[in-house]
Symmetry: C2
Subunit: 153 residues, 2 copies
């Protein structure tokens, strides 16, 4: 009935990146749910990716994640309520609090890294070890170039 869309022939690079990204994401967060962490959502990775081993300030987390402190506070609140983080006053600065992973939170971080590695291995299974390795390398180079551009500005 409905004619096919005009954009059928050749997908944009952006569309391909999005497709792959979303597939990996589904695998990782599905796996996390299967391992007993159904409450962890993709947005939470902004916290896990940026928190330091001895804890970090909210402001630091927000800066690293490239978002406002209010948005980061929203994510931290959720994770703290679920027992993945604690937020304690900084003894050296009366304004600040230090956000730390609990043992549970460290479990999530470990699972997150393991599942990401598994997902990457499945990519290798799909297109071949060699190509998957190159895919990663090219993306790393692209990321480095993008970061260099940003730094130069």
């Amino acid at each position: 009935m409905d004619s096919r869309p005009v954009t059928e022939q050749r997908r944009t690079l952006g569309a391909l990146l999005r497709l792959s990204y979303e597939a990996l994401q589904r695998e990782v967060y599905g796996g996390l749910a299967a391992r007993g962490y159904p409450e962890i959502r993709p947005a939470h990775s902004a916290v896990f990716r940026h928190i330091g081993p001895d804890g970090s300030r909210l402001t630091t987390l927000a800066e690293r994640a490239g978002m406002t402190k209010q948005s980061m506070a929203y994510l931290v609140d959720g994770l703290a309520a679920a027992g993945h983080l604690t937020s304690t006053p900084d003894p050296a600065d009366g304004r600040a609090r230090i956000v730390r992973l609990t043992a549970k939170g460290q479990g999530v971080l470990a699972a997150l890294l393991a599942l990401s590695a598994e997902a990457e291995a499945r990519v290798a299974g799909r297109i071949g070890e060699r190509r998957a390795g190159k895919l990663r390398r090219y993306l790393e180079q692209l990321a480095a170039a993008l970061e260099a551009e940003r730094a130069a500005r």
Copy 2:
């Protein structure tokens, strides 16, 4: 002060895909704004990517985009209000309406495709023509494998 995050050493493939995707997205939608379409947001691409040359039904669009018809209606309403789409009753089906691109909307679609091509060319400029070509090819193969898996299920 704040120690570096644990995840510094090696980025996950997902993180690399996200980084690249978001960079391309910024380029494309920034370019769209610069060309006089600041109201077009990334979510709208779900409409432009899936609409047929002779128009499509809301339900068809939602199906193709993999979202609910309510969500698609939200996007279509916004684009229609901005003059990029029209929604006319289907003469052959009293329940349905047919969503069509206006001339303005076709301009957006053309700009979207052109800007995506430009963004891909800039990727080639960053990591080299040859690598960019391979990057695309591997992503296409990955996408094909993912779609085959989905179809097999």
